[in-house]
């Protein structure tokens, strides 16, 4: 039986007078793939930061694995930021980046159990051959593979991703979702990701949260991504032809 790993009740976040998130309610069970969809400024990144314990919320309650954000065993959760926000001038090789996900510290030396786990993760995502390349020399798709390896190397129960397809080409994007689905089929992990692509959300998700500061809808893609919900979230939908395929 699937268990609840994430429960949000009436979550609100205010910055002074400004409401960023208002009354968000949803529950996520294990082994599910959740997409968060919404326009820019909808509060998607803020929601992720609340879950990671990086931002305080104003009211409501949030429980992850039965604990408050920030009090959860960090080995249970992996976070994949947008690769375009990463400092690629930092002197690092790919395997160091993966080991940092295992150790939750930057590695001084590359040996031991952490290295083995990192190599296995890189092997799993088909990136073992680039383990010793500088991150500055990797393409967007290669770096994203390394980041996926980093996120799965410690076998987390929840992977939170912020626009994982941003900055990579169409082939890389297709590979990315295949990797995620492969990992999910081999583990009981839950994946929660922000995406701007409604088509991707529809195709890969078990549940979709449509957000525009308020919760517009939450449910299976066919229900959550209905035209009326998208109009409420985005104001208009004419610019996105992918909706026609729903």
């Amino acid at each position: 039986m699937n268990q609840n790993i994430l429960e949000l009740k009436n979550l609100s976040v205010n910055y002074g007078e400004h409401t960023v998130l208002d009354s968000i309610n949803f529950t996520v069970t294990s082994h599910s793939f959740i997409s968060i969809v919404g326009p820019n400024g909808a509060g998607k990144s803020t929601l992720i930061k609340v879950l990671l314990g990086l931002t305080e919320f104003s009211s409501g309650s949030v429980l992850i694995f039965g604990n408050k954000p920030g009090k959860v065993d960090s080995s249970l959760i992996s976070y994949v930021p947008q690769i375009k926000t990463m400092d690629r001038n930092f002197p690092a090789i790919a395997i160091e980046l993966v080991i940092s996900g295992v150790q939750q510290r930057w590695p001084w030396a590359l040996h031991g159990d952490a290295r083995t786990k990192a190599e296995n993760a890189l092997q799993l995502v088909g990136a073992k051959q680039i383990a010793n390349r500088a991150i500055a020399d990797l393409s967007g798709g290669e770096l994203q593979r390394v980041c996926i390896a980093r996120s799965i190397a410690k076998y987390p129960k929840l992977i939170i991703m912020d626009e994982p397809a941003a900055g990579i080409d169409a082939v890389g994007e297709s590979d990315l979702y295949k990797l995620l689905e492969d990992y999910q089929s081999k583990s009981d992990a839950t994946i929660l990701m922000i995406t701007h692509d409604w088509h991707i959300a529809n195709h890969h998700s078990d549940f979709v949260l449509v957000l525009n500061r308020k919760q517009i809808s939450y449910g299976p893609p066919v229900e959550s991504l209905k035209e009326e919900n998208m109009r409420r979230a985005f104001g208009h939908i004419g610019h996105d032809h992918t909706l026609k395929s729903f």
Binding site: L52, G53, L54, G70, S74, I77, Y79, P81, T85, M86, D87, F90, P91, A92, I93, E96, S100, Q103, Q104, R105, W106, P107, W108, A109, A134
Partner: protein
């Protein structure tokens, strides 16, 4: 060279040079990688305020400069985290205020401050055994705090990722800024206030050109920082020029040679 090593002041200068060369090049990697090069200048000028206050009070300037610079370092970190101001703006404010205080203190002293020249440009004659003892203590603290390297490195790479992995980045920022402040103060007598920023930055920047990983960058920076301090002090004695300038010019040569070498690869 052997004759040089038999001179007590030179022995003190060389031991001091190795110690501060190690400290500055170790902390320099974080300064460079976090884009905080201006912090070195800011803290050096804060130290000038402390040194000037020490001269005014007729006490050992470094004992006043250490707490003075630590307070400024904590102030810079606090303002940076509490406001939306950029670090350059925050450092610039503290930099100017400390410098202004230093000028006022020297003016109030109402006598020609020959010591001030030493503190501004560095001198191999100025290092005392007390300085060496205090600097050794800072080196021991640095080695004892080595496990923090992994946390500082992680948050230097990506602050948000480190926070998500429960690294106490704010606490670590304060510890790092205090240790950089103390490093700046203990380096003053050899390198001089004017050149300390370069002393922090150049070995680390050179190491960055030669390294693919952050741990390697740290090791290479320490080697460059320590060796350049020894050779620079030797050159300072032979050429009779201020030690700070000799060390920095040597480090600059290493940087440009490394740049040519790394561009050619």
């Amino acid at each position: 060279m052997l004759e040089l090593l038999s001179l007590p002041f030179m022995q003190r200068a060389l031991i001091g040079g190795v110690l501060v060369g190690f400290l500055a090049s170790y902390y320099g990697v974080f300064v460079v990688q976090r884009g905080l090069s201006f912090l070195g200048s800011g803290l050096a000028h804060a130290a000038f305020g402390g040194v000037a206050l020490g001269l005014l009070l007729d006490s050992e300037p470094l004992w006043i400069a250490v707490p003075f610079t630590i307070i400024v370092a904590i102030g810079i970190t606090w303002v940076k985290n509490k406001t939306k101001l950029g670090s350059d703006t925050t450092i610039g404010i503290f930099f100017s205020v400390s410098m202004a205080l230093g000028i006022v203190f020297l003016f109030m002293r109402k006598q020609y401050s020959v010591d001030a020249f030493t503190y501004l440009f560095g001198s191999i004659l100025s290092v005392s055994y007390t300085d060496i003892l205090f600097t050794s203590f800072v080196v021991i603290i640095t080695i004892a705090f080595f496990p923090l390297w992994k946390r500082w490195a992680y948050s230097s790479f990506d602050r948000e990722l480190a926070q998500a992995d429960r690294v106490p980045v704010l606490f670590d920022d304060y510890v790092l800024s205090v240790l950089i402040a103390v490093t700046v103060v203990v380096s003053i007598k050899l390198v001089g206030i004017v050149l300390i920023a370069a002393f922090l930055v150049i070995p680390a920047a050179t190491a960055r050109l030669l390294s693919k990983s952050f741990s390697r960058m740290t090791v290479v920076s320490i080697i460059i920082g320590t060796l350049s301090a020894i050779v620079g002090l030797w050159a300072s004695y032979l050429l009779d020029v201020p030690s700070g300038a000799a060390i920095i010019l040597l480090q600059a040569c290493t940087f440009f040679i490394s740049m040519i070498f790394s561009s050619a690869k």
